[in-house]
Amino acid sequence: MFRGLIFPCLLLMAGSLLGQADAPKPAAEASSSWSLDSGLEQFFGAHCNDCHSRPDPDAGLDLSSMKTWKDRDRVQRVIRWARRRVQGQEMPPPDTDQPRPAEKASFVAAANKMLRRMADEDPQGPGRVRVRRLSRYEFERTVVDILGVKSKLIESLPADDLGYGFDNIGGAMSFSLLHLEKFQALAEDLAERALRDEDPDNPARRRFVAADMTVVTGEPGMDSHANLFASATIGQIVKLPRDGEYLIRVQAWGDQAGDEAARLDVEIDNVGWRSFDVSATRNKAKIYEQRTKLKTGVNSITLGFNNDFYRPNHPDKNARDRNLHLQWMEIVGPLDAQDPTKAEAWLVDRKSNRPFKRRLKRLVRDMIARIWRRPATGSESNRLSKLILKEYEVSNNEVLSLRLGLQALLSSPHFLFRMEPGSLRGKKGRTYELSNFSLATRLSYFLWSMGPDAALLELAAKKKLSEPAVLTAQVDRMLKDQKSRALAENFAAQWLEIRNLDAATPDPERFAGFDDELKESMGQETIEFFDHILRQRRPVSELIDANYSLLNDRLAVHYGVKKDRAEGDANGFRRHEFSQGNRGGLLGQAAILVVTSNPTRTSPVKRGKWVLDNLLDAPPAAPPPGNDSFAGGEEGINSTASLRERLAKHREDPLCASCHVKMDALGFGFENYDVLGRWRTSDEGGIIDASAVLPNGSKLATPVDLKRIIAADPDLPLAIAKKLFVYAVGREAKPADVTRLEGSLAEKKASRSKPLNLRDLVMLVVTSDAFRLRRAARVKRN
């Protein structure tokens, strides 16, 4: 049984992950010749080929034929996998003849050598990255940084399609007509918000002739005025540029009768605002006005007459009929002064005496440099100037003209895409350094998720940024800056999959209390925690084995470490040390426990897979088609006990066991956390049993064990570095990239006594060839 469980497991994993099935079809250039290290060949021959050879190799992996493989990437993946298996005591299977320690050591050394050699000879070099469109998150941060304003329309952008788990992978990001429409509307809205057409000395005046307004109730007579002879209301929709103070003015008069004046009732958005006694009389119309707050966008304002008075038989002819006559309404404002937006402070100068045309030259250059992240060419400046001046001729309004310029820059491919021009230089396949400006952009989007700031652009202009010492110093400066919180919000939130919190739907009947505040608190905890580890330069392993986290009161109550919430404390996240070792670190964080659960129950499988995918860089192969369900289905499972039973059963199937032995074991370590991440010791099925045995024999029974095992795993730093690499460079990490990362990691480790921290990993990625260099593309002129 043991063999049945473990043996095919490890092989199949290797097979389906690395075999023909998943391997990309070899590119012509990837198939250049290579030779298998004789040490490896020997080891395979002695310990592996018994099972892994034709005619029916276990897991479809025929190691005996490796020599003849054309796909270099596949060779490297399989060697890496084999090394991991042998090192982790998982292969050869425990019930077979084991290699002697010395044999193992020399196998590992040979594997290392082989991987290094193949990486060095890799024809892909630093690789090529496809042009990247700004992701939604990047777009928003970039414009806030430049203009100081946001737009709600950002919500309307189509979802960014993910590649390799991230939303900033050039190849996976599409651009269709819908994108263009949304980006256009966004550019327009942002430009309007950034450059407001407001002159404090001369507020906008919107006049509406009453006779043209719409009839809401009653039957007023409309001629040159609106004549409200009986109870009636007329209304007007007013679109306003922003929330603020406005003056509402109405010119009116009344036919007076009875013992009160004609009354004008004004409602704003169907709510009574105020009433005016219109005592003015025919030919002596007066203006009735008052300031009020109105909101941005659409406001409905109605003018009503509700104290109609009609005594046709009254002896006094002038006391028979009370009517209200309205001439016009004006909305003036906004009147409240507002701080200039970042864009206004930058571009608008109402006090200047120099003619707009003269000032524009400089403005245009600045705008292009900042928004397109590199200096303008002469022709670009000219074209933008022309666009703006043409508008200026029509409107004679500086702000409106600059606004159009801004709108054009924001809709341009130079802004929306991260161009890395220069790729046509040299022959195909030649490697060249990215331009300093392209480097500045890669760096700033990696660490800040926004465009480069003035300091980076200046260094780029001087061609200094690419100097190693300068580059390193900039990384440190940028990490220190608050803007690097983007690494937590954008990178970590995707890496750890907590972005999926929004889509989580725990069954409210079983798991009450999952409201928006709790959900946000959960996501926030993980972001704060990652940010803390990064900023305080804590060891990478502390992500896992910390005995603390950062909590607000809501979470503290949720975790049961605090009885009540303090008044008015929703956002304060503070470091909390847990007295018991279970909680603390990523693995006990609710966000992660929620996104790895099903709506009605926890999922040890998903949790185990999450660990393998994200922390150990050992993603299990997906189940073969048609084999990815429990016999008997999921519905009967409503307790951990029945789940454990069911999982044990499906591990009897060697096909399932191949991956699930490890995945389930890791997953069971989390069983004390329920769907919402709360601690539990029992559920409907009885006492929670969180014990499990890993394929290499190590046992775990509590989250403490789980933390210890994962924190100590040598693959943890490499797994994180690899994720950072994908996010930073915008493409898949190929086997050669991983080997290079591994090499730099080892060097770094050897060069000092302190443990690795996240800054080290960031630095590793930034200084990698793939980040700084690029391979020339094929030039096809047409």
């Binding site: 993910l162 390799y164 409905s300 491919p413």
Partner: protein, 451 residues
């Protein structure tokens, strides 16, 4: 009450033309804003084509009618269509070979959506080199999309995952899109009914007059010109792959320009927004689904577009249909392992979706066009890219079409094809019915007999 004879009522249409659109305001509910206009459908009665994608396969025995030929009593999932069965054609035993693994291992959900309308075998990639085929709707749009403001319309109910992997090494581009303009370019979809309505007919929040709108369009036009100029210059400086990306941008700019320069439709009748659209997006998934169908109806009715796709869920959707009393996720349920309880719930979800689809068809059937109905002028495919949910294969798919493509389909039947007939044959047949002369679509081997 004096001077009654001096009073007159404002023509509301006049008012609206003057001051733009007024919505979200209870006191204006009665008004019909002049968003868009129904074209002269009476005269043209164009064909319309729409494609609905249901995720996670089907409980086939509750889908497939017992006997061939004339449709009689429909099985559980299709039951809501009973009264409309004379307009329905159930198509059995059609295969999507492109969806099969073909040595690529797991990832059937991604392949189900990617191949659903393309009949292609999508390249397995996490994003580096996406490669699929052109989808039938986009081919139709190319063939007949020029005459409408929107060559095609892409709708969905789910935005898509925001972290992690979508399906076993396949980029989310495959699970989130069924419309493919080119093998490398999926067409993004819109998931909020309100946004779709605004895109088609105008800004709901805007109180702008026509003059202001024209002014806005003029500015947009000059911005587009500027961007196009950039793109042209840039193009010559990029490598082939990057150029392809930029060409997507290019292509979009050209199409948008064309739309901006097109003359608005004739003023035949005004389009008014569905009621719930005004009060936000109203309620949960059920309401949003109905609203989306309503907006789609308006799009087709007003001849704003003649081609549409609608993803009722993304591939592998794990939505919890709690309002049906089904708390487990849809995807989890689809791995039922023949558990009767799970199967029942799975069928319940499919039944719910067919019920919503029925309400959509009912609306189309109630819209008179010339001497027939909008439904009869249309051909609307409904189905999934997976057959048996748990087996994850793509053969013998659950597919049906509603409508008659303007008399080109003899509806009301259950057609059972020869084993191994590609779904692409259906698509080739559809192209033929649309008047295209294509000899091949995807892996087609010919047109469907007797369809």
């Amino acid at each position: 009450m004096a001077n009654v004879n001096r009073k007159f009522k404002l023509d509301r249409r006049t008012f609206l033309r003057g001051s733009g659109v007024c919505l979200g305001l209870p006191w204006l509910d009665a008004m019909v804003p002049a968003f868009g206009h129904f074209a002269d459908i009476e005269r043209t009665a164009p064909q319309r084509f729409a494609f609905m994608f249901a995720p996670n396969g089907m409980k086939m025995d509750d889908w497939t009618p017992k006997s061939k030929g004339k449709l009689g009593k429909l099985p559980f999932i299709l039951k809501p269509l009973q009264d409309l069965r004379s307009e329905i054609t159930v198509l059995s035993r059609l295969d999507l070979e492109g969806g099969q693994a073909q040595g690529d291992g797991p990832g059937d959900h991604a392949r189900a959506s990617a191949s659903f309308l393309t009949s292609a075998h999508p390249k397995k990639t996490g994003g580096a080199d996406i490669m699929n085929g052109v989808s039938i709707d986009q081919r139709l749009a190319e063939h007949m999309g020029q005459s409408t403001r929107f060559a095609s319309l892409e709708l969905g109910m789910e935005r898509g995952r925001s972290a992690g992997n979508c399906d076993s090494g396949y980029s989310c581009a495959y699970t989130n899109n069924i419309s493919w303009r080119s093998p490398t370019t999926p067409v993004a979809k819109e998931t909020q009914p309100r946004a779709v309505f605004q895109r088609l007919f105008g800004d709901l929040d805007s109180a702008e007059g026509r003059a202001a709108q024209l002014e806005r369009e003029r500015r947009r036009q000059s911005v587009l010109d500027f961007a196009l100029d950039d793109a042209k210059k840039l193009r010559s400086k990029l490598g082939a792959q990057d150029r392809a990306k930029l060409d997507d941008y290019f292509d979009a700019v050209r199409r948008l320009e064309k739309r901006l320069s097109a003359k608005p439709n004739d003023n035949k009748a005004a389009v008014s927004p569905p009621k719930n659209l005004l009060s936000g997006n109203g309620g949960g998934f059920e309401n949003r689904l109905d609203l989306m169908y309503e907006v789609l109806t308006l799009a087709l009715q007003s001849d704003s577009t003649r081609i549409a796709t609608f993803m009722l869920g993304n591939a592998g959707s794990n939505r919890s249909y709690r309002f049906l009393g089904v708390a487990s996720g849809h995807h989890v349920l689809s791995h039922h392992g023949e558990d009767p309880e799970a199967l029942k719930k799975l069928a319940k979800i499919s039944h719910f979706h067919i019920d919503a689809f029925f309400r959509f068809l009912r609306r189309l059937a109630d819209i008179k066009e010339a001497d027939t109905t909008l439904l009869r002028n249309s051909l609307i495919l409904y189905g999934s890219g997976l057959a048996h949910s748990d087996h994850h294969h793509h053969r013998g798919l659950p597919l049906l079409v509603a409508g008659r493509a303007r008399g080109r389909v003899k509806a009301g039947r259950h057609l059972v094809f020869k084993k191994g007939t590609p779904a692409a044959n259906l698509y080739l047949s559809i192209l033929k019915k649309a008047g295209a002369k294509d000899a091949q679509f995807g892996d087609s081997t010919g047109v469907l007999p007797s369809f």
